[in-house]
């Protein structure tokens, strides 16, 4: 199908007066495109290569001119060394715990609310929906100071509650995305279930959630990545080192040992790799996320 179209447009080009001399021009264009792509790829990828290369080098190769790209010999010691300077295993565990709370909120609480907005009629529902949409426009910093005071009052400072409880109660962006998806699910299945006397909660759980797996995967990934990357929240609400997340712990590590580039790059690699794995396992959900936000139109 696509091939046919290409042939079609080629034919229309040949009718055109300037068609002469096009093969050479097209070849040059192809070559130029390819060259620019390679150049761009080098610029965007080199920082990663540099990071991994540094993490596998001994100090005398790290501080060398001209720069050495391939470590000789490969040194794995920078990775275990990180754990001597920073309790990375605790940071991993803390970050994972907080991220899972975010995923829980996105998948369960947000889809519950999204189902309400998409399918259940109630007076004032659309006004409430507009309120929720405008919530997305309120910048976090406007709430930051009172939130800190509130959490201090609740004695939640230096606990995971400020970083988990609000997220578990739902995030408007994910509710919005899931609602958009639910609206595309045909109603017939649910109607049949209603006639059979199923409760809405049951329908949500047994019919809608399984059908919405792709959208749920998207919000799950988005919320996981947000929590994994978040720096401001942990910076403001956590104090003790044992409770630090990866972001906060890594920042403290660099602050204290700014010249230990081998271990620092090893630590950065360890923080980036899980995100890359998530990305490669679920590439299509990233694209889906963009489609779900309705940006395309």
């Amino acid at each position: 199908m696509i091939r046919d179209q290409a042939v079609g447009s080629q034919q229309s080009r040949e009718i055109h007066p300037s068609a002469r001399g096009q093969p050479l021009r097209r070849l040059l264009e192809r070559g130029g495109t390819q060259l620019l792509l390679v150049l761009g790829a080098v610029v965007f990828a080199l920082p990663f290569v540099w990071m991994v290369s540094t993490s596998l080098k001994a100090d005398r190769q790290i501080f060398a001119f001209p720069p050495i790209w391939v470590p000789d010999p490969f040194i794995w010691g920078n990775f275990p060394a990180v754990f001597i300077y920073a309790p990375m295993h605790l940071y991993f565990f803390n970050t994972l715990l907080i991220a899972l709370a975010h995923v829980f909120g996105a998948v369960f609480t947000c889809s519950l609310a999204a189902y309400g907005f998409a399918r259940l009629r109630a007076p004032g529902r659309d006004i409430i929906f507009m309120v929720m949409v405008s919530q997305m426009m309120i910048p976090y910093i406007v709430m930051l100071v009172p939130l800190y005071l509130l959490f201090a009052e609740l004695e939640w400072i230096d606990t995971f509650y400020p970083l988990t409880i609000p997220a578990m109660l739902g995030t408007p962006f994910y509710i919005f995305m899931l609602r958009q998806f639910f609206l595309t699910i045909p109603m017939e299945l649910e109607e049949a279930a209603i006639i059979d006397g199923a409760t809405r909660l049951r329908i949500w759980w047994t019919i809608v959630l399984p059908l919405a797996k792709p959208a749920l995967a998207t919000v799950a990934i988005f919320s996981f990545m947000f929590a994994w990357n978040d720096f401001t929240g942990p910076l403001i609400f956590l104090n003790t080192r044992e409770k630090f997340t990866l972001s906060l712990g890594l920042q403290a590590f660099m602050f204290e040992r700014r010249t230990m580039w081998g271990p620092l790059m090893a630590a950065s690699t360890m923080m980036i790799v899980p995100i890359l794995i998530v990305f490669f396992l679920a590439q299509k959900h990233f694209i889906q996320g963009i489609a779900l936000t309705g940006i395309k139109a």
Partner: protein
């Protein structure tokens, strides 16, 4: 029978409404406790002097007056932020567009390139910041080493008054891939028949780009422009991690100053008023952009 029927229908609707409210309840609770409450409190706090250890005191507009008349750091941090926004945003939009145009060509291995360009934008910001401190390191870093190989002595980057802000912008531009994907989606949404029609009319490549691609892409570009202005006004983490606001406060951005006021000096009322100023400034800029949009953004629906 006829009299009995309306009644169950009414209870059904009531039950559906009740169910709906129950489904929205968790979000509603979070909204009241962690959004609306704090927003109102923040507005009130802006008119108070509250430094946690002493009881809050109503000071009226004193915070705002002090900000605009008696706080050099306020103006300076806003100036630093404007510099960042004005340099970052145009480059960001242009780079995202150029990369998307490049990826929209037919070439071998497009999927691999798309991934390569996109991946830096999902790198955790602190990990990326640490990596870039190393890349920008004046003596052994990748950039200056490379420059030295061609005989150029590079600047001190993060330690230089002139180059600290460009260095942070450079790092942020590395993450242009997310915007690139959005532009790419926009490009692929341009109907092919428009290009064909323009070609039949004798439009050359540049003319097709100018009169078909750009107008059709303008809503997407506008979207990215608005979002990147909002986001770059709130630049914080890279400066906090990479420079701590230095050298000589040349990277003391607005958010960083706000953070210091609130969580280092515990000047909560003052910080709240700063947050409102930023919010109002960004909101006003966004509204202006929407106002100006009618001049250059093309919406198909309006024309038909």
């Amino acid at each position: 029978m006829a009299a009995a029927q309306p009644k169950p229908r009414f209870t059904n609707a009531a039950r559906e409404a009740l169910t709906c409210y129950l489904f929205l309840l968790p979000w509603g609770l979070g909204f009241l406790a962690f959004v609306i409450g704090p927003v109102v409190a923040s507005f009130v706090l802006g008119f108070m002097d509250y430094e946690i250890v002493t009881p809050a005191r109503w000071v009226g507009l004193a915070n705002y007056i002090e900000l605009f008349t008696d706080d050099a750091r306020f103006g300076m941090s806003m100036g630093n932020t404007l510099y960042y926004v004005l340099v970052f945003v145009p480059f960001h939009v242009i780079i995202a567009t150029l990369l998307a145009l490049l990826l929209n060509q037919k070439a071998r291995g497009i999927a691999v390139y798309r991934t390569l360009f996109y991946v830096p934008s999902i790198v955790p910001i602190v990990a990326g910041a640490i990596l870039w401190v190393w890349i920008l390191q004046p003596e052994w870093g990748l950039i200056n080493s490379t420059l030295r190989m061609v005989g150029i002595e590079g600047p001190l980057w993060l330690a230089s008054l002139t180059w600290s802000k460009p260095a942070l912008i450079l790092m942020a531009l590395w993450g242009s891939g997310a915007a690139m994907i959005i532009v790419l989606a926009g490009l692929q949404g341009v109907p092919q028949h428009l290009y064909e029609a323009a070609e039949i009319d004798g439009a050359n490549r540049w003319q097709r780009f100018q009169h078909v691609t750009i107008p059709m892409l303008s809503p997407t570009l506008f979207f990215i422009l608005v979002l990147s202005v909002i986001a770059s006004f709130q630049v914080f983490t890279t400066a906090y991690v990479m420079t701590g606001g230095g050298p000589a406060e040349s990277t003391l951005f607005y958010m960083l100053y706000l953070y210091r006021r609130a969580f280092v000096l515990l000047d909560m009322g003052y910080a709240a008023s700063m947050a409102w100023i930023l919010f109002v400034a960004v909101l006003a800029l966004t509204l202006i952009q929407f106002k100006l949009a009618s001049r250059w953004v093309y919406y198909e629906a309006e024309q038909s």
